[in-house]
Symmetry: C2
Amino acid sequence: MNNIRLIEIGEEIHGDNKREASRVRSLLDSAGTTMINLMASPGAGKTSLILKTLEALKVDSPIRAAVIEADMDSMVDSEKIAAAGIEAVQVRTGGFCHVDAWMVMKTIQTLDLPQIDLLILENVGNLICPAQFDTGADVNVMILSVPEGDDKPLKYPLMFRECEALIINKIDFLELTDFDMKKLQDRVLRLNPDMKIFEVSCRTGEGISRWSEWIVSRIAARSAARLKP
Amino acid sequence: MNNIRLIEIGEEIHGDNKREASRVRSLLDSAGTTMINLMASPGAGKTSLILKTLEALKVDSPIRAAVIEADMDSMVDSEKIAAAGIEAVQVRTGGFCHVDAWMVMKTIQTLDLPQIDLLILENVGNLICPAQFDTGADVNVMILSVPEGDDKPLKYPLMFRECEALIINKIDFLELTDFDMKKLQDRVLRLNPDMKIFEVSCRTGEGISRWSEWIVSRIAARSAARLKP
């Protein structure tokens, strides 16, 4: 085992990344942009949730949004976002299994940030590495889809600790599985007692409005904090 | 972006890992053990598939099996395997998002390999990094579950290229999704024309026997190759 070498390299990278994340945060702050870092397993419904959320926000509020799509390969997701008339930037991470603050910095430098109220980063589909890298986002959000099972907090505790909100997607699949919602919630709250939990189905639209309202309140709270003397 | 440094480190590690994987392969070979490296997203059904497969093999053949369970944290999966009366070893990878050949070497040194015909490694739930590390296994197998969607070959091409067999699990969920089996198969075969594809449901048991028969034939082929003068 030569794990120790790997771990040291990792720590050095994490320190540099933290500093770059602070620079991202300053840029977002002076532009008045709220950034959400959305993380989940492959296929949990990240792109679907973004589309449903922005659709809901368009109806209820004048929020101007843009999306950063990160993927190892392919433009599939950014094409879906652009097709819905929303500004999308694709980041191809190559072999990288997560988004770090340097990738975000490089991306936001191509955007007209003062024209964007809400910037959503769709991170790479992965429950492990993305949780280890601060992207500079204001809010970390994760999706867990019902078919993945209720034991995920036991296996990926860091992800559940690093997020402020958990969206449980595909609740329309509940009857086909032995997913125990009470057990899941207990496991999540033991790791992260302040976690906001939203039960949604991107397919049926159930639960989307409650989640979207929370996003609006989060943007408002950030603006209020910025206006404080 | 300081990606270049990261990539160089990765290449060095991959070279060392390849050599350690060869040593794992020699050990398995002299013991007559066939090793399967099972990879998938979190919640795709790795542990369920292992349990169903070993149940099927127990009925039809005298194959002696053991399981290596790799997880970032928790003993959940190895407890399930042990509860079914199968030898299980848990590897806790700590922050690591994949299993490498050093971890396998350390683990198989604790096993009585000549008493094991089939060794199944349940890799960490992740479609990215595990595909980049040779574990020393004879066969790489991946699971894709229907709720994850039919676009995964576009997003995680390396995983589909590195595997010899693909198990499409949760086919009992097909009617609840817009998963297009034909489209999926076309995408997979474009990346990997020799991929063996098995459609199964671990919940209903559908398709498990065909897959189990393939495993038996794979073990037999390996034994025959070993006996050749």
